[in-house]
């Protein structure tokens, strides 16, 4: 007995001493990982970048182009066969023995040839089939990486640059000269993932029975009103034949094209829903009594067919959801199984894109998205090589960690980021006369802009991987800034603090949510810089939900969040952040909110004009918007061109070059393939 006890004791002592020793060593790694916890949403999916359109759209104006011209314009190999010239098609062996029609019959006659990236961004290789792509997410029912990879817009803009607009799910478009109507051509023989043909009946159903049904769509979408503004009349649909339809507006609206291509990640589901499937849940086509069992099964109360319909209708942002299983789609991969820990996507047998050699895309057969408890777990799995693709959760601050572990089978790339790192907002309409008097004075905003030391921000927070923003004057001049404040009459008190018009110390209280790891240190640095002007700047970190609620309620005076503004011509210009009350006035056509001053009205009008204009006009107009922004500094855009890490398995091919946007790489996922 004694011997046994001693033995047990000895074993335990060793184990415990070991643990105690280990506990001592590691404050470093712990604090390191903690500082990054808030990383989740920043690197997010999203708004595509950039510049402006060139003349492509106008070439489309001339006549209904043959889609082949359209499809091949951006292909990387020089001598690409036009549509209809590929004589032989191939499919993944994944479909062997699955009792499907021949691949040629599954593809539309108007198939689309990938790839639409510029040649300097991607040297396209014809790939081989097979493999499972592993991704990780920390949010239930949502994986931004898979979402971006899977989502298919109606139109496409190659490399997400907005320079050209080509057909995607729709084959082609024709904008009328007065920009009051757009004709769309659909792909003949395109089929839903269950094999049913896609026709204008699906468009008609979506527009007439869903969008124009006030029960299902209580508020008609703003972007589908003429000109994309509140006072515009809702668009009208005209079905020409099985494969052609036309949208008409009562005012010019060429800007709809780019909105359908990329803005807000609009998928094809906005105008194209599988009518044959959804009719069984629509009161117009199915008697309510027949729907009751389904309503009950979905957990709704008797007669709630609207809830049932909305539950069954998988819009594009629900494509990750567990209830999307079995819903007919046009995506490269469709959800086939969703549990609480893994969502599995399998290839769509009827996907409409092929490569130049006639191989039906995608190359990769399956995607497995694993749900983990915490964003830090994503990092651990990444560096252990258990992830094949990760953009959403990758953060610049972790780049050294990624690089250090590259031997585990992945590459950490540094691509361009499609959003500004962080912009600064002062709420010009915050309900306090003293505050409004100061911040609505353009001299004040110019002074603050001049007090931002951009180089310090770039070096300290972004390790040099960013540029000073070009929209506003990047000059750093504290003396000049101080003079502007003196001009305004913001005197200093005995302690060197500036006093507001009410004679009290003027305070800028920043309230930020930690949506990205850079927001808090960034705000701290800015606070230091503005304090140098004698201003009292404070900072408080609050919960993200609270932040969102307070922002919407016009309760936040100063904050920091990223935008897409300078990168992309249809960017949102952060109106809801720098003047929520004026923004309400604008977006409700003057029904709500308060009327803004003349200069702001002009600014809004110019944005509206640019958003409604066809792409090549929009490019010119947005330059004018930028000039107005420079003159008025409605909010601060100190930096641009920040970098975004992208984790890809080192076996993956057809990964675009570093010069492309990380999000554009993600978006072209159907062409990735695993090399041997």
């Amino acid at each position: 007995m004694k011997v046994k006890r001693r033995f047990l004791a000895a074993v335990l002592v060793t184990a415990l001493i070991l643990t105690a020793a280990l506990t001592g060593c590691d404050s470093g790694s712990n604090s390191g990982s903690k500082s990054n916890t808030a990383n989740n949403s920043k690197n997010d999916a999203n708004k595509p970048a950039t510049t402006d359109t060139t003349n492509n759209a106008s070439t489309n104006d001339a006549a209904t182009n043959d889609a082949s011209t359209n499809n091949t314009t951006n292909n990387t190999t020089t001598d690409k066969p036009a549509d209809g010239q590929i004589s032989e098609f191939h499919q993944s062996s994944y479909f062997d023995g699955k009792n499907l029609p021949d691949v040629k019959d599954r593809l539309p006659a108007d198939y689309k040839i990938t790839n639409e990236m510029n040649e300097d961004q991607l040297k396209y290789e014809v790939g081989t089939y097979g493999g499972t792509l592993r991704t990780v997410t920390s949010v239930a029912n949502w994986d931004a990486d898979v979402f971006v990879m899977d989502n298919e817009p109606l139109l496409n803009t190659p490399s997400i640059l907005g320079e050209k607009i080509t057909g995607n799910v729709l084959k082609d478009y024709l904008l009328s000269d007065d920009q009051k109507s757009i004709s769309f051509q659909m792909r003949q023989g395109l089929k839903w993932s269950d094999g049913v043909p896609v026709t204008t009946e699906d468009v008609r159903f979506t527009v007439e029975d869903v969008l124009n049904n006030p029960e299902l769509t209580p508020i008609f979408p703003l972007y589908l009103r003429s000109g994309g503004v509140a006072e515009g009349a809702p668009m009208k649909l005209e079905v020409i034949d099985d494969y052609n339809f036309k949208l008409t507006f009562d005012r010019p609206y060429g800007g709809l094209l780019i909105r359908l291509a990329i803005q807000g990640w609009r998928g094809y589901t906005e105008l194209l829903k599988p009518a044959h499937y959804l009719k069984q849940f629509h009161k117009k086509y199915t008697p309510l009594a027949d729907m009751e069992p389904a309503i009950k099964a979905a957990g709704f109360k008797k007669g709630e067919w609207v809830n049932l319909f909305n539950y069954k209708d998988i819009t594009n942002w629900k494509l990750n959801h567990s209830e999307a299983v079995g819903f007919p789609v046009l995506y490269p991969w469709m959800v086939t199984k969703a549990t609480k820990s893994v969502t599995t996507y399998e290839r769509n047998p009827y996907y409409f894109k092929v490569d130049t050699a006639g191989n039906q895309l995608p190359y990769i057969d399956k995607i497995e998205s694993t749900l983990v408890n915490d964003i830090e777990m994503v990092s651990l799995k990444t560096i252990a090589g258990e992830v094949d693709f990760s953009r959403e959760s990758a953060a610049l601050v972790k780049m050294p960690l990624y690089k250090e572990n590259e031997k585990n089978g992945y590459k950490a790339l540094l691509n361009n980021m499609h959003v500004t790192p962080t912009d600064l907002f002062l709420n010009l309409t915050y309900d306090n006369p003293n505050w409004q008097k100061v911040v609505q004075d353009v001299r004040f905003r110019k002074a603050l802009n001049m007090a931002i030391n951009r180089q310090e921000l770039i070096d300290t927070i972004y390790y040099g991987f960013a540029q000073p923003g070009s929209i506003e004057d990047p000059t750093f001049d504290l003396d000049e800034a101080g003079k502007l404040l003196d001009d305004m009459g913001l005197k200093k008190d005995a302690n060197g603090k500036r006093l507001g018009p009410d004679g009290k110390v003027f305070t800028i209280p920043f309230e930020v949510g930690a949506q990205a790891p850079d927001i808090v240190p960034y705000t701290q640095l800015i606070a230091e810089m503005w304090r140098a002007l004698g201003l009292n700047v404070t900072m408080k970190t609050i919960d993200q939900t609270l932040w969102g609620t307070r922002l919407a309620a016009n309760d936040i005076q100063a904050t920091v969040i990223w935008t897409h503004t300078p990168l992309w011509y249809m960017g949102d210009w952060g109106q809801a952040n720098w003047a929520p009350v004026w923004d309400q006035w604008h977006s409700s056509s003057g029904k709500n909110g308060k009327e803004p001053p003349e200069d702001v009205k002009k600014f809004y009008a110019k944005i509206d004009e640019a958003m409604a204009a066809k792409p090549d006009d929009a490019k010119r107009l947005i330059e004018e918007v930028k000039q107005m922004m420079k003159d008025n500094v409605y909010y601060f855009i100190p930096l641009s061109d920040v970098k975004q890490p992208l984790i890809v398995s080192d076996k993956l091919h057809n990964i675009p070059a570093d010069s492309s946007f990380a999000i554009a790489t993600d978006f072209s996922g159907e062409q990735f393939f695993f090399g041997k």
Binding site: L8, A9, L12, V13, L16, I17, T19, A20, L22, T23, C25, D26, S29, N30, S41, D44, A45, R134, V139, A140, N141, W142, F147, L216, T217, P218, I219, F220, P221, L222, Y223, Q263, G264, W265, F300, V306, N307, W317, S322, E323, K337, T339, K340, S341, V342, E368, T370, V372, N373, D374, M377, L380, I383, A384, N408, Q515, T545, L546, G548, T549
Partner: protein, 332 residues
């Protein structure tokens, strides 16, 4: 006795009603709801969710109703249909989310509990019988560290070192292919080695404190008269120790079993997050953060019911042992 138990059971009803109301109100207190969270998540990801869709979702999730109506619907469904509502995040019935995780949590907690007892009691006894010996000091030292260092920190450090040394990320309870597989021998075998780390980490802190408790209790007992008498009468040391003092010393373990019940199902939240375990703790935390109110409400309600029942259980046990308690409440 029957009277006493039924009296206590009757007391439970208003208590549970009060708990459920408090739980529901507290969950609803933070600004916004699940939907504002969800929409913000989508918007930050660049999605443009139309106002129509938001209105429809509100209606679909019943968030357009007042808080009182939401509570009434929820509680009515639980009482009448045993249906705890829908989890917004997972978009499936709450029960389907909770029960599978509960099984794993109870398994891990039970194994940890056994581990703690197996380790702590012998050490406690050794420390007490060999007071001020070298090993006693060593155990005491380690015990204090174990109590002082939070479990999640130990977990982080272990995960870090195992990764650095082996390149394996020891997280989760299953490897990828068994993550959602039905239960089978292969799945159990896959799970067992992965249980070692969480069991050690979760057990560490309670083992350390249990060592201290056992040592203290036993030391008290050992100096008592009956031990000295027995020793004087020539009872062998081993028998002397295990016959009475040890039984007395582990008494606190038995009387706290009632409290252990809720701990068994709620799991070690932070450790589970660090180790990515599919247990209830992280689920609850996430549900609270995303304001998935039926999920957290139902889970907290279940924990409360079990706590209340656990307390009842220990009361009954105590009443069975001590007649004074039995008569105190009712006055038969």
């Amino acid at each position: 006795m029957i009277n006493y138990i039924s009296y206590r059971l009757l007391q439970l009803i208003p208590l549970l009603v009060a708990i459920s109301i408090i739980v529901f109100v507290i969950i609803q207190l933070p600004p916004g709801d699940f939907l504002t969270n969800y929409i913000q998540q989508l918007k930050l990801s660049g999605n443009d969710v139309s106002e129509s869709a938001i209105l429809n979702l509100k209606q679909q999730y019943g968030l357009d109703q007042s808080m009182i109506m939401q509570y009434i619907y929820w509680i009515k469904d639980i009482v009448l249909h045993g249906n705890m509502g829908r989890s917004f995040q997972f978009n499936m019935p709450v029960a389907d989310v909770i029960w599978p995780r509960l099984g794993l949590t109870v398994t891990i907690s039970l194994i940890s509990l056994v581990f703690v007892w197996l380790v702590a009691i012998p050490i406690g006894i050794y420390s007490a019988t060999h007071q001020y010996s070298i090993l006693d000091y060593v155990f005491t030292f380690i015990g204090f560290i174990g109590v002082a260092v939070p479990g999640f920190l130990i977990a982080l450090v272990l995960v870090y070192f195992i990764f650095i040394e082996t390149g394996v990320s020891v997280t989760g309870l299953f490897s990828q292919q068994y993550l959602d597989a039905p239960w089978s021998m292969a799945r159990v075998l896959d799970m067992l080695p992965r249980m070692i780390l969480p069991v050690i980490v979760i057990g560490m802190a309670s083992a350390a404190s249990l060592i201290r408790v056992t040592r203290g209790m036993l030391l008290d007992e050992l100096s008592k008269q009956y031990v000295i008498t027995a020793r004087a009468k020539g009872v062998s040391e081993g028998k002397l120790l295990f016959k009475y003092p040890v039984r007395m010393a582990i008494n606190p373990l038995i009387s706290t079993i009632g409290w252990t019940l809720p701990a068994l199902i709620s799991g070690e939240v932070i450790v589970s997050i660090v180790l990515n375990l599919q247990t209830t703790g992280p689920m609850l935390l996430k549900a609270l953060m995303t304001q998935d109110m039926y999920l957290c409400g139902s889970f907290i309600l279940i924990t409360s019911v079990i706590t209340v029942l656990g307390t009842l259980l220990s009361d009954i046990l105590l009443a069975a042992i001590d007649p004074r308690i039995r008569f105190g409440g009712v006055g038969e």
